[in-house]
């Protein structure tokens, strides 16, 4: 590779904040080299720190630590003259074309200023200015004009001419075309490329526009929150992006349609938005927060970012693996203390996210409370409480069997097949467009389900079993499902924020996956389990039920291959997954990467939301298991 003309090393910039001793770290120890003749493009959104990085690198702003060397020499600690001579190697083009030229100066004076400073005589200045005007495509008749007499594109041409006046080696292009119209932007981009070739220039290009950056750059650095999340050749970054943010940017700029589609919202990439916004396109009901929320002590463990995780022949650091599995958020609570918390994809501690089938595990806890209070007998057939289901599979299947997923039912849980019972269930729940006009509403759909054999013998995962239980319990108590959750789980466990549950067209809650809540509240729910059902000094759910769940399913129940493949010896009980690993972890899991992970041995709870592009696959599941176990092992 050609020689290094600029070396940016460990540049950090911290801006003081009014209410903080630490300050705001706009740029976090970034190092990168610029090679002669290359274009390095930094792409990032507002507040990513890209402009601050450029300013620090080019000596416009003083970095808090770290620095730049230009052609092997440092920008600081030199005499004025030496600094000025070194700076003659730098050129600057900024976003605001009109603001780049002193409104009181003519075009000639603006371009001549750096030449005068360099001590050039007036005849040579004349020649040079005319040469530059010609090269940037401006007529010499424009020389006497002032900035307000020029168009935006012309102003930017003048700014480029001035930047090139002293024959610089490296030019900073900070959003050079962002305030120009598309057709003018194209003129300027073509001009910049032509000048780079003719004068052997090196560009440090900063822009929020991925199209501009990827068009002009040899290498692209994607910047977010003060760090480069991804650096590589333009082709590498565009063709095989590693970081979800890069993938998101590429998708946004690809021109992919924003058409919202009720049939595909659960798949990537629409789920990246949809999982945080179900209430905008589906009807929901509120599960109310506790008036006295359980406070979480926060003591962040910086070591966690450094742990390495081996999975599928690769080694990842924790941040790398989180990025790899399209994490939206993660909260880790160890021995009651919040030790790790990260948010991505626009999420914040206040954002809610769809739980998918983790909702089932919450239903499991509600049933424990209901059974203990004697509201229901879980060994009774479901149709005992819901006589309208007589004649369906639920005439014989008991509540306990539905809780443990041992109902023998003609039901295909195939998420990718639009003809499967799962797809029909989604249509009935309103999660998909109801094209046929059949299966309107959960109740009428559940009535059509038929038995496939003897119940209680074999494990068979079936989402409909949870919906029928949500219906049953609100029917028996004559109370809406969301109100039961509020009263018996959400408020007693000390939820900080309101959660919500999706309802079907008849207002019946979608028990199999309709809950949305904040990441911290999901962690609070996990805490309830790891603490043996206790929260705020109260027994919220019976300890016996928690212990029974940890113990797993009875050995008599025939397991399923896919369950054994992931968790040898594992089972499903009370709407929870039991790993049968050394630590006897249990967890709730939802499609597209939703988890609540409870490890009783290390007393660790992990709540994690994702928006994976596909509902389930072994690779992502294994990565998640490895990730959770590595965190709990700390």
């Amino acid at each position: 590779m050609s020689e290094v003309v600029m070396q940016i090393s460990q540049v950090t910039k911290v801006f003081p904040l009014r209410d903080s001793k630490v300050g705001f770290k706009a740029v976090d120890s970034i190092s990168i080299d610029l090679h002669k003749g290359e274009v390095l493009g930094v792409v990032g959104e507002s507040g990513s720190g890209k402009s601050t990085l450029a300013r620090c690198a080019f000596g416009i702003t003083e970095p808090t630590s770290g620095g730049t060397t230009i052609l092997g020499e440092s920008l600081v600690g030199k005499s004025r003259k030496a600094t000025r001579e070194l700076r003659a190697n730098l050129g600057f083009v900024f976003q605001d074309p009109a603001g780049s030229i002193n409104p009181r100066m003519s075009v000639y004076d603006a371009i001549a200023e750096p030449l005068m400073l360099a001590g050039m005589d007036s005849a040579s200045i004349d020649t040079r200015v005319n040469f530059l005007m010609d090269r940037v495509g401006l007529a010499s008749s424009q020389l006497s004009r002032k900035s307000h007499e020029l168009s935006g594109g012309q102003c930017q041409r003048v700014a480029i001419a001035r930047a090139l006046a002293t024959n610089p080696k490296i030019v900073l292009l900070d959003e050079p075309t962002s305030s120009l119209d598309l057709s003018v932007q194209a003129q300027i981009l073509n001009l910049l490329e032509e000048l780079r070739r003719d004068f052997d220039l090196t560009y440090f290009l900063i822009s929020h526009n991925l199209d501009v950056v990827s068009h002009l750059s040899d290498r692209v650095a994607v910047m977010k929150d003060g760090v480069f999340v991804e650096v590589g050749t333009t082709r590498q970054v565009i063709d095989t992006p590693k970081h979800p943010f890069t993938r998101e940017l590429i998708r946004v700029y690809s021109g992919a349609s924003c058409e919202f589609d009720l049939d595909t919202w659960q798949d990537g990439p629409l789920n990246r938005w949809a999982f945080q916004n179900v209430s905008t396109f589906l009807p929901t009901k509120v599960i109310a927060a506790s008036p006295e929320p359980l406070s979480l002590d926060i003591e962040l463990d910086a070591n966690l970012d450094a742990i390495t995780i081996d999975v599928a022949d690769s080694t990842y650091t924790l941040p790398e693996l989180l990025a790899d599995v399209d994490t939206d958020s993660i909260v880790v609570v160890r021995k009651g203390v919040l030790v790790y918390e990260k948010y991505f994809n626009g999420m914040t501690p206040d954002s809610v996210h769809l739980l998918q089938s983790v909702s089932k595990s919450i239903l499991g806890a509600l049933y424990a409370v209901m059974a203990e209070r004697g509201v229901i007998d879980i060994d009774k057939p479901i149709a005992f409480y819901l006589p309208e289901l007589v004649g369906s599979v639920y005439e014989a299947a008991t509540i306990a069997q539905a809780l443990d997923m041992t109902v023998a039912i003609n039901f295909s849980e195939d998420y990718s097949d639009p003809q499967s019972e799962m797809a029909r269930l989604d249509r009935a729940a309103g999660w998909r467009t109801n094209t046929t006009g059949h299966d309107l509403g959960l109740r009428s759909f559940l009535r059509t389900m038929t038995a496939s054999g003897e119940h209680g013998k074999a494990y068979q995962y079936c989402s409909a079993n949870t919906d029928v239980l949500a219906w049953l319990i609100s029917e028996v108590t004559q109370t809406p499902y969301q109100d039961l959750l509020t009263r018996y789980i959400w408020q007693p466990m000390g939820a900080h924020d309101d959660a919500s549950v999706i309802v079907d067209r008849e207002g019946l809650s979608v028990g199999n996956g309709g809950i949305s809540c904040t990441t911290r509240d999901l962690a609070r729910f996990g805490l309830l389990i790891v603490n043996g059902g206790r929260a705020n000094g109260e027994q919220v759910i019976p300890a016996a039920w928690v212990n029974a769940t940890f113990a797993g399913a009875s050995a008599d129940v025939e397991s399923a291959d896919y369950l054994q493949a992931l968790h040898p010896g594992g089972s499903y009980k009370n709407k929870w997954w039991i790993t049968a690993g050394a630590s006897r972890e249990i967890f709730g899991v939802g499609i597209y990467g939703q988890y609540v992970w409870v490890d009783p041995t290390s007393e660790t709870v992990i709540a994690k939301f994702s928006s994976l592009p596909i509902p389930v696959d072994g690779v992502h599941s294994r990565k998640h298991m490895a990730l959770f176990r590595a965190i709990c092992a700390q």
Binding site: T83, R84, R87, A88, F92, F94, N102, L117
Partner: protein
């Protein structure tokens, strides 16, 4: 030259401004050519004529005579001189001091900005006339001392104005680029910053000239400014005030002179602002 004259057309953009421009021209003309314009130049300069005291306005003495028999018109014409002098001197010095400090504070920022701004706030925390009064009390009455007193209370306004403007211009890309290229501070201050703060400066100066005439008049009125026998409008209003019911013309006409001078300066100040402020000019 033609373009320069055309550039002054804003002074005649409407009737009111045209009248103000004419008034201001008369006022400046009177100050310069007082000895030739005044019907009784000697009386205007202070010579008394006790035979003619308290003559009402009439053909011989258009505006009447004062308590020492001097032709009031001549006195008022001569009075334009100290008025203009004090206005130009006060505004001039205040603008120079204020601009210099404001540029340094605005461009440099940091502790030096803090010091300059705290000092100017100290001055601004007194009502301007009160501050001038205190200063004159220390320095003693007289035209020069009044002038110094007014400069003391006037410069902080300029320092603050220029500081704000300078700090806005400082963050413009062309200043950042120049600084990054290694252009020395003093060149940046003069070439880029000063040149881009002149508009608000001119507008402020034009608006202040009238106000200073008023303030100087007020000082003279309470006896702390110009002293007899100089022809000063404020002094003349003061001397005539006990006679306002019998010899009404003395206070009335000299007061009217102040009123018209201040008014025309203010109207022209507005016209200047409309002309220079690019935001308004563009519409």
């Amino acid at each position: 030259m033609k373009t320069k004259l055309a550039g002054l057309s804003f002074l005649f953009k409407d009737t009111l401004t045209t009248i103000a421009t004419v008034m201001m021209s008369i006022f400046i003309g009177a100050a310069i050519f007082a000895p030739w314009l005044a019907p009784f130049p000697k009386e205007g300069a202070g010579e008394t004529n006790v035979d003619n005291i308290y003559i009402g306005p009439g053909w011989h003495h258009l505006l009447g005579t004062d308590e020492l028999g001097r032709d009031l018109l001549s006195r008022i014409i001569y009075g334009a001189r100290p008025a203009l002098l004090i206005a130009l001197a006060v505004v001039g010095f205040a603008a120079i001091i204020g601009t210099l400090l404001g540029l340094i504070a605005g461009y440099r920022g940091g502790w030096i900005d803090n010091i300059i701004m705290r000092v100017s706030e100290l001055f601004l925390s007194f009502p301007p006339l009160l501050l001038s009064l205190v200063a004159v009390t220390f320095l003693g009455p007289g035209l020069v001392n009044a002038l110094i007193a007014l400069i003391i209370s006037w410069w902080p306004w300029y320092a603050r104005l220029i500081r704000v403007e300078a700090s806005i211009v400082r963050s413009k890309p062309y200043v950042e680029i120049s600084a990054a290229m290694g252009v020395p501070d003093r060149i940046i201050i003069v070439r880029h910053i000063l040149r881009n703060v002149t508009t608000p400066l001119i507008v402020q100066i034009a608006a202040d000239l009238g106000t200073v005439i008023l303030a100087a008049g007020s000082l003279a009125f309470i006896g702390l400014g110009a002293q007899p026998p100089s022809a000063d409008w404020g002094l003349m209003v003061a001397q005539g005030r006990n006679l306002i019911f019998d010899q009404w013309w003395i206070s009335t006409f000299s007061g009217l002179a102040i009123f018209l001078a201040v008014l025309s300066f203010n109207i022209i100040g507005d016209a200047l602002r409309d002309h220079f402020d690019p935001r308004i000019a563009r519409q």
